[in-house]
Amino acid sequence: MRKGAAAVVATLVGAGASAEAPPIFVDVAKEAGIDFVYFNGMSGAYYMPEMVGGGGALFDYDNDGDLDVYLVQGSLLVKDSSSKGSTAAETGELGDRLFRNELISETGSGVLRFTDVSEEAGLGAGGYGLGIATADFDNDGWRDVYVTGFGSNRLLRNRGNGSFENVTEASGTNDSRWSVPALFFDYDRDGWLDLFVGNYVDYSLESSKTCRSLSGVPDYCGPLSYEAASDRLLRNRGDGTFEEVTAKAGLLAARGGALGAVAGDFDSDGWPDLYVANDGLPNQMWINQGDGKFLDEALLAGTSVNMMGRPEASMGVALGDFDDDGDEDLFLTHLRAETNTLYRNGGDGFFEDATTATGLGAASWTFTAFGTAFVDYDNDGLLDLFVANGAVHVPDGPVEEGRVFPLDERNQLFRNLGGGRFADVSASVGPVMSLSEVSRAVVPGDIDNDGDADLLVINNSGPTRLLLNQIGSQKQWIGVRAVEGDPPRDSLGARVGVRLASGAMRWRWIRTAGSYAASADPRALIGLGDVERVDEVVVVWPDGTGERWPATLGRYTTLLRRTGEAWRESR
């Protein structure tokens, strides 16, 4: 009935309908209780860390079935030496914030509403936070948090009672350098999630250089003004501590100023690999050799440099099967005057730069992009792309009075048209997309559990936005939480598939890492368009074994390993 009425309206108003169409994305952050501004500690000295934050996570910390929001906070870079203490209040720091989603709770009424529980969660003083990873590293059934930053990183163990314990030192996971990306993945397949931390450049406030814009005014330096820092791999011993294995694993063979990272099985051998997006230097595709070692095969894979043979200023990274051919393609965000780059996976782990052919090149030329996510925002079955933009250099022209951080740009949404083409539909999905802000992380997730992808957008020196998708259930969908172990934890690296009427499978991967400084909803949300029925849903676990279950459309189902019927892939 609703669809019929909409069709009549469209017919009556004709081409003008789009101008009056209700917005697809609406910012509900403030009214839902998320009132947060990332504070970059800007002092006028143009310290580089000021312009790279901040990050955040969508994760269910209290296991009640809905996504909660963790927002990483910055702090003053030059501090008053009289500040003492360990809590946010004692040090005068703003501290990270945890917002509990009350959608599903003892007192919840099904309304999207958040409560700031940062104090009772015991988050404490956080230093200068930038990025985040979430996962159950100690296999106790509760999702833990790793926060990266300029200075110390922090591992916060979820006690399961609504509070977190800082176990950074005890676990051996601290890294006092400048870190942005981090991710948990079980690289040795021992059942314990290991930790990768990407480091940016060797930088300190004391060694900070003076850089200029074209017109001679002070500006932020680029990454090549400093030496790139090495990344870090930490193996989970399974006893709450981690072992430093970076050198042993071969990850010191290349470095590049990491700002993005994602794990995936690029060569389809059942061992999780790593992709590291570097700012201004070649990217790495670390292929897991299955013996604890990694080899950088990015050059041969075609994902190290662009088709000009040049490295780009890679910031964010997204993996997803945009062409629905069963393998994951790679999308990277870049600086203004570079294009964002889409590498199409040929199915054999070899990629080809498809940026121009897909129409994503020219559209990104005038933006500096950070966070990004493949999301099927309209549930038509094709993965679309969201790109969070914000410059890193002050403009050369005159700046209006009062604009103290003039790096703002608008964000972009690209709709997948099928046939390997994308179109910028930002102007037609709601006024929120015309806001000009300094966006950094974008975190996808279905925050109201209604079967469409919502987006958390974190702005530097501006309000955090929660873009609630109004598409709802206009198209068919299926949601899956794939878990393994006892107590069960998200099976990071597993893939979830449904067989379409054509006989082809549509796949989505269980993953929290990617984008920029972000940790996303670990559930698989598969848009199905107008499909009426799907017979079965399949999970291929990280070790390559598969199981199947009867499919239920229009809801989320938790699928526990070893409870389904064995399934073998026939390619």
């Binding site: 006028g44 008053d80 200029r212 230097l281 041969l300 000009m308 121009t356």
Partner: protein
């Protein structure tokens, strides 16, 4: 009455022969030397177009105007100027080539393809026109045989044109004819051995042909030379555009080229161009200032300081050299000197908030928090 009006409009249009009014680009941000040069040409053209609209002189002035607009990057005005010229002189291959180039630059791909075809009709051995047309046809993705024919013709006209050979490789790549692509890319690389773009394409084509180790060998050579040029124009002479490049000379052009290098992130060229600007006019304070900034970013601190000091001497009222020198002294821990220089910068420009903030930061370092707070308050 209506018929009469229509007739008058038609008659006027005929008299003007389709000429379109040339836009007046905003020359305010342009270097004064460039501005006066362009304004002088424009004035000459406007006088001639009234006095002798059909004369050879007006055509010459129109050409000069269009080419100067192009040389300094005013593409819209250049396009109209050269389009007007092409309407007056139908077989002017040079004007048409520049017009096609501008249309290509401005993203009017289909129009550019047609205009390059006009050039080729007049000059059947114009290699750059074939090459550019072939590349645009690939971009449009409409006719691979036509694109291939363009690259073949470009190579016949200019056998040293590596980019045309690369274009043939691209055609083969789009047909997934990987061994053929390998042959073309390899031949192109022999012509332009420093091109990372061609080497990358060769590596990928070798990989797709199953020649993995050869691919790896090629691709591994890319990272060693990440700043090398592009295959877009490798090895192909373009005398017309070279002429345009020579139109702009002196301090202004070096400042412009330095600025373009800045946008390309090419610090070495930036230092070089600003250095040339200083050489062209040693008394130009702006050139000194930009050269100093580029030197500073290159880590050539002592040379940067010398240039800033020279800029201060040449233009004692400019706050920026004082501020920049203050920043250098501050980074060297010479806080007393830095403080004096920040104050000198503020005297010259009281709106320079960043200098005030830095003074606040120094005050804080020396245990004077009140100044720090007042600085932040101002922000």
């Amino acid at each position: 009455m209506r018929k009469t009006i229509l007739f008058i409009v038609f008659a006027t249009s005929t008299a003007a022969r389709g000429q379109v009014a040339i836009p007046h680009p905003d020359l305010t941000p342009v270097d004064p030397a460039v501005r006066s040069q362009i304004e002088e040409i424009r004035d000459r053209y406007e006088i001639l177009s009234v006095d002798r609209p059909e004369s050879a002189e007006v055509r010459g002035a129109l050409r000069l105007l269009g080419e100067h607009y192009l040389a300094y990057g005013f593409y819209a005005a250049a396009e109209v100027s050269l389009s007007n010229l092409a309407l007056k002189v139908h077989d002017d291959a040079r004007a048409l080539y520049l017009l096609a180039y501008i249309r290509e630059y401005r993203g009017k791909t289909e129009e550019a393809v047609a205009t390059f075809a006009d050039v080729i009709r007049i000059e059947p051995d114009n290699a750059p026109a074939y090459l550019r047309r072939g590349r645009l046809l690939l971009e449009l993705g409409e006719s691979l045989p036509e694109a291939e024919a363009s690259f073949v013709a470009a190579l016949e006209a200019d056998p040293a044109c590596a980019a045309a050979r690369y274009g043939r490789g691209e055609v083969a790549r789009l047909r997934s004819e990987w061994p053929v692509a390998v042959d073309h890319y390899r031949a192109a690389l022999e012509m332009a051995p420093d091109s990372d773009q061609i080497r990358y394409a060769l590596g990928i084509a070798l990989r797709q042909s199953g020649r993995i180790e050869e691919a790896r060998t090629q691709l591994q050579q890319i990272t060693a030379r990440v700043t090398a040029g592009s295959a877009t124009w490798e090895g192909c002479a373009d005398p017309v555009l070279a002429d345009i490049g020579r139109l702009a000379t002196g301090v202004a052009v070096h400042l412009t080229r330095g600025a373009l290098a800045y946008f390309d992130g090419d610090l070495a060229t930036e230092v070089e161009e600003y250095g040339k600007a200083v050489e062209a006019d040693k008394s130009d304070a702006e050139a000194r200032k930009r050269h100093a900034s580029a030197l500073l970013r290159s880590g050539r601190l002592d040379e940067a300081v010398a240039e800033y000091e020279e800029a201060q001497r040449l233009d004692p009222l400019d706050a920026i050299p004082f501020f920049d020198l203050a920043e250098i002294r501050r980074s060297q821990g010479r806080l007393d000197e830095a403080e004096d220089l920040y104050r000198a910068a503020l005297e010259r420009n009281p709106q320079l908030d960043r200098a005030l903030l830095q003074l606040g930061a120094i005050a804080l370092t020396e245990g004077r928090p009140l100044v720090q707070r007042s600085s932040f308050g101002k922000r």
